[in-house]
Subunit: 144 residues, 2 copies
DNA sequence: TATATTTCGGATAAATAAGTCTGTTATGTT
DNA sequence: AACATAACAGACTTATTTATCCGAAATATA
């Protein structure tokens, strides 16, 4: 459903939020180890997220990544679109040139329902909110 | 959502059904051209489908692929599982080692809802039924 | 039996995704 | 100013997916 890169991106941002909510900036090494992802690959992804202004970053000693109110409106959907493109949200799931009600593929009408649910999943809660749930112990980013 | 191979597989089987319902066996060339897929790759996929008994095949002149009542219970879900594995239906969408209510990732409860809808999409109508809809002109496998 | 047709099976090639490495730039500390 | 730290940028490697190629096996027809 999501690419590896997108999974790491989502977990990274949520982890960064959990730390930013306690005013801690975090480095690649810490992020990667806490979400169970390869360090170098995570670094590449964080750079993209930073360039897209989905997170903030500061170079140098005591630098690292962070999230603040200027990033609070970024949704999971934004992240997926940035990294995986929008094939999950638009275009024909069976690969027909156009997805439409007029010329629907055999799965079209069911795909529409699935996409509605996917949209809810990726837009109903903010990344910050998801981080709060992690802090509360309701959900988690890593298992031993 | 689906791999290229899975898309071609789905379209191939539905196309084969549309022809089998009129007692016509079809060859790779005809299938590939009617679903807009590369011929050699389609051939490979058809071999897998045949080996898994999701379709029937006959070698030699007047041979080709077909579907009959012995294939009528194959679902879209079976096809996806064969070709893409079951990552769409089980396992954590964010890549955690285990997907469970006890140790849920931040997306778990929403993922469950999406998966329910995906399951409906892939099991509610038989491939044969989908073929009938194509025959009736309600849906289509290819656009010009 | 010879031939043409069509699937089967495995090897190979090309494209994309996943992941690594290495040097550069910015910045805080001494 | 010199140094250490940590993000940035781009080239590189590896793995997987997508796609092609070619010969072997099966089978209908002449
Ligand atoms: S036409 Fe295929 S999903 Fe809409
Ligand atoms: S734990 Fe992640 S989807 Fe269930």
């Amino acid at each position: 459903m999501f690419s590896q890169a997108a999974k790491y991106a989502i977990k990274s941002i949520i982890y960064i939020w959990t730390q930013s909510l306690e005013d801690r900036k975090v480095g690649v090494k810490e992020i990667a180890s806490n979400i169970g992802a390869p360090e170098a690959f995570t670094a590449k992804i964080l750079q993209n997220l930073s360039k897209a202004n989905f997170i903030g970053s500061v170079k140098g000693p005591n630098g690292g990544f962070y999230s603040d109110e200027s990033h609070a409106k970024v949704t999971l959907k934004d992240v997926i679109k940035l990294i995986d493109g929008d094939h999950l949200f638009s275009g024909c799931s069976l690969g027909l040139p156009k997805c439409s009600e007029k010329n629907p593929c055999p799965l079209h009408f069911e795909v529409v329902k699935v996409r509605k649910e996917i949209d809810i999943m990726l837009t109903s809660k903010s990344l910050k909110h998801l981080a709060v749930e992690v802090i509360k112990g309701l959900t988690q980013l890593n298992q031993i």
